[in-house]
């Protein structure tokens, strides 16, 4: 670490043009402050900031139009913040971090926080929307055609301009040939002499009305759907653009009792705000519910439900073995091959490299399916080739071995590539120096190459461990968690925590997102702790060159 004399407040030092400001940047960075502003730098800065303003203005119009003031505020603050950051000479690290971080916040951090917040709700199938949504759904679902009522031919018409005039339903009854006009005020008969009716029974023209064609009518779809013509027994509603029927909502919400009443059976379902459902006195609940806060219920269920917590530790242990095994094996194999091919005397390394990355270049879900077939007991290549009759996915340990082997195949090209890159980045002088000193290749590998490789790759190994810890696809597309004990179809030998708990959350009657989010938070806490501990160990390596 170089020691710079510049402390806080130290004045002009290098070919400086302006006084350095105090505080930031610390010690060794200070010299950078005095670098001259180049023409290219200036131009780039102008263009980029110009783009920022351009985008901000482009983004502002729709926000203003939609009266989305919060969004506009965020936009203005972000833009101003960017200007401040890049025009100021302070906060140098932030200049490098902010571009990526903005995207990160919007498209990763926000979704994660939003999802985590659902862990405190009953969010899931049957409980997705608001109470109002549920009420609308219940009422709409109960609309029935009044028995024996007429089925009308419908023509949508307006009084006046097709795009803006008030809508009217021109209804003709195919049986009686009577024509009437209906709007929110009710039905009115129209004299037959004032209308033209096509042979199919549709009104094609009427005095004082403009009949809309489908194209014109479809633009006003929402108004048409919302237009309900009241009748004595119920209401005439449109069914598409060419039919209408007289129907009645059998169930209706009554705000007074906060309940749903069925006018046919007289049954009532009262809102249960804790469960987010309408429940009848006999315990029957309506299927359409709404999302409510359930506090820590999902979390306590994870801990107390014996079906979830029972096989937890066994699954956790295998989960660790799987993540460590996948990461370790791919790293060892990838590095070994990279080392083998890393020699200036090797010819054809290009070809080797291209062929070796092919497994990684293929869509992994396709290759997982191929591998699953290869482990088939009767038809699979593995058994056929070696003359075995092993029921690979039917036994605990063979299934685990098979899964790890598949992971190895899929993952080692990645490690190979990264190790190749890292080896190239290690200065040749270092290894040469040791070989001049008479060290064997193994010694020079241990003393020079491996430590440097680890500096470069250990953060990546941690990331890879974390990824594999939650690698649901690797399991779902091969063993699906199996083999399962005959008396327990919920927990299999190759299940990871994530596949196991999602089976519980999504395999039940309807997906339970809230539950799944709670489980994810638990898993997240475990992986985060492990990763944080191993991360703190990298500090030493990180400072090799510092």
């Amino acid at each position: 670490m170089s020691t710079s004399p510049s402390g806080p407040g130290s004045a002009t030092q290098a070919p400086g043009r302006e006084p350095v400001r105090r505080g930031l940047p610390r010690i060794s960075r200070s010299a950078r402050n005095h670098a001259p502003i180049t023409a290219t730098g200036l131009v780039v800065k102008v263009i980029l900031l110009g783009l920022v303003v351009g985008i901000a203005i482009w983004a502002a119009f729709p926000l203003i139009e939609a009266e989305h003031w919060v969004g506009l505020g965020i936009l203005a603050v972000t833009t101003a913040g960017l200007f401040y950051l890049y025009l100021s000479r302070r906060h140098i690290p932030a200049k490098y971090l902010v571009p990526g971080t903005l995207f990160l916040l919007a498209f990763q951090v926000f979704p994660v926080l939003y999802t985590a917040s659902t862990a405190f709700t009953n969010f899931g199938d049957g409980h997705r929307g608001s109470k109002d949504d549920a009420i609308v759904a219940i009422q709409t679902a109960s609309v029935k055609q009044i028995p024996g009522s007429a089925e009308y031919s419908l023509s949508v018409a307006t009084k006046g301009d097709p795009a803006t005039g008030p809508l009217v339903f021109l209804l003709s009854d195919p049986k009686t040939k009577e024509v009437s006009a209906g709007d929110a005020g009710g039905l009115r008969r129209i004299d037959a002499s004032q209308v033209t009716v096509s042979p199919t029974g549709k009104v094609t023209a009427a005095d004082g009305y403009t009949v809309l064609n489908f194209g014109q009518a479809s633009v006003r779809s929402k108004e048409i759907t919302d237009l309900v013509v009241p009748t004595s027994g119920g209401a005439v509603r449109s069914n598409g653009l060419s039919r209408a029927y007289e129907g009645k909502a059998v169930r209706a919400y009554d705000a007074g009792c906060d309940c749903i009443k069925d006018s046919e059976s007289g049954k009532t379902w009262t809102a249960d705000e804790k469960a987010g459902s309408f429940v009848a006195a006999d315990g029957e609940r309506l299927t359409q519910g709404w999302q409510v806060n359930v506090g820590l219920k999902n979390f306590s269920r994870v801990l107390t439900d014996p079906k979830i917590s029972g096989p937890f530790f066994g699954t956790l242990a295998w989960n660790f073995a799987f993540a460590i095994g996948s990461t370790g094996l791919t790293f060892l194999l990838g590095m070994a091959i990279a080392l083998a091919l890393h020699s200036p005397r090797m010819k054809g390394t290009n070809l080797y490299r291209v062929l070796l990355i092919l497994p990684y270049a293929m869509p992994s879900f396709a290759m997982l399916l191929v591998w699953r077939d290869m482990f088939n007991t009767d038809f699979g290549l593995v058994n056929n080739l070696f003359g075995l009759g092993v029921d690979w996915f039917g036994q605990t340990w063979s299934a685990r071995l098979a899964v790890l082997l598949v992971q190895l195949w899929l993952g080692y090209p990645y490690m190979f590539l990264v190790a190749t890159g890292a080896l190239q980045a290690i200065p040749g002088e270092l290894t040469e120096a040791t070989s001049v000193d008479g060290a064997t290749p193994w010694q020079s590998f241990r003393a020079v190459t491996l430590p440097l490789l680890l500096v470069a790759l250990s953060p990546l190994l941690i990331a890879s461990f974390a990824y594999n810890f939650n690698n649901a696809n690797a399991i779902l597309l091969t063993t699906e968690g199996g083999p399962f004990a005959p008396d327990n179809p919920t927990n299999g030998a190759t299940d990871l925590l994530i596949t196991y708990t999602y089976r519980l959350a999504f395999g039940a009657q309807g997906a339970e997102y809230g539950m799944a989010a709670a489980v994810s938070i638990f898993i997240f806490a475990i992986v985060a702790t492990v990763s944080a501990i191993s991360f703190s160990r990298t500090r030493k390596q990180e400072e090799v060159y510092s």
């Binding site: 979704p111 659902t118 092919l358 990331a463 990824y467 939650n470």
Partner: protein, 299 residues
């Protein structure tokens, strides 16, 4: 291919022992290479055999094709929008990998070379965010992009730009870690001396650091490219228009029909998908194996 490193070794060689020496120094490397290639390729043979099989089954009982026909390939272009998918993927993966290595190299530089409050916390956060299962976040993605589509259809659902933005959200993830590791291996004296010579921090970054880590940029770029080409989960919810789909989404559709699948066309498509990756790799090879690093470190 003789280089400085080999010269002394070659001098010490005696002609008679050259074969065994050749094996000790180079031959075994080829052996490892061939074995590794065999391991890599044999599952792919099934894909080739299925692609050539006119019946189009992905059954692993037959390693060698039972029939040879290009029917699957021609069907792919005639009956599906494969060409569209291919171009979409190339465009998206190209732009996204380029932008994402740019963003992550900026961040990696800061994380590696600067010391600031919250540095290690920031790094750890980057890692931890990646661990949250993505398919749960789909609900939130719908939430965000429903709003965006209403306000700005140009970057909403079914547009490559919207998906590009989403991918940028993940740009800092693993790539930053990877690159930071490599920045860490570069001696600090390099940029410090440059700074002393009066270079500004952007100059140090663009003129000194980036050229030095060219192999890593190439590797990371390739990984990002492959990642974008193969990304399925988000692209599947994002792109529903046949013509706006990417390879991964479109091809999955070939085998996703209920209970009856067209593995033949799918296998053919899988093989074609690998082509851009291989081409990009070829393009980047010279950076990956360039001697740039060694030269620069000396200077």
């Amino acid at each position: 291919m003789t280089t400085y490193a080999d010269a002394p070794v070659a001098n010490r060689n005696s002609a008679g022992k050259s074969r065994s020496r050749w094996f000790a120094q180079v031959g075994w490397r080829h052996l490892v290479g061939v074995l590794a290639v065999a391991f890599s390729l044999f599952p792919i043979l099934f894909v080739i055999s299925a692609a050539l099989n006119p019946l189009g089954t992905l059954s692993s009982t037959e390693l060698l094709p039972t029939g040879a026909s290009v029917e699957n390939f021609s069907n792919l272009f005639q009956k599906t929008a494969f060409a569209h998918w291919f171009l979409n993927s190339l465009l998206l993966a190209g732009v996204a990998s380029f932008a994402s290595i740019f963003l992550s190299s900026l961040a990696a530089y800061a994380f590696s070379r600067m010391r600031f409050a919250g540095r290690r916390v920031g790094l750890l956060t980057l890692l931890l965010i990646q661990m949250f299962p993505q398919f749960l976040a789909i609900v939130a993605i719908f939430l965000i992009f429903t709003t965006i589509t209403d306000l700005y259809p140009a970057i909403g659902f079914n547009t490559p730009w919207g998906l590009f933005l989403l991918y940028m959200g993940g740009a800092l993830g693993a790539n930053t870690w990877l690159m930071k590791g490599f920045f860490d291996t570069l001696p600090k004296e390099l940029d410090e001396s440059a700074t002393m010579d009066g270079a500004s921090h952007p100059q140090v970054f663009f003129r000194i650091m980036l050229p030095l880590v060219a192999p890593i940029l190439a590797v990371t770029g390739l990984l990002a490219f492959i990642g974008a080409i193969n990304e399925f989960l988000i692209a599947n919810v994002f792109l529903t228009n046949t013509e706006s789909k990417t390879l991964a989404v479109g091809m999955f559709g070939l085998v996703a029909g209920e209970r009856n699948n067209n593995f033949g066309m799918f296998a053919a498509g899988t093989l074609l998908t690998a082509i851009p990756t291989v081409l990009v790799f070829q393009l980047l090879q010279r950076y990956i194996v360039s001697g740039l690093t060694a030269g620069a470190v000396k200077g």
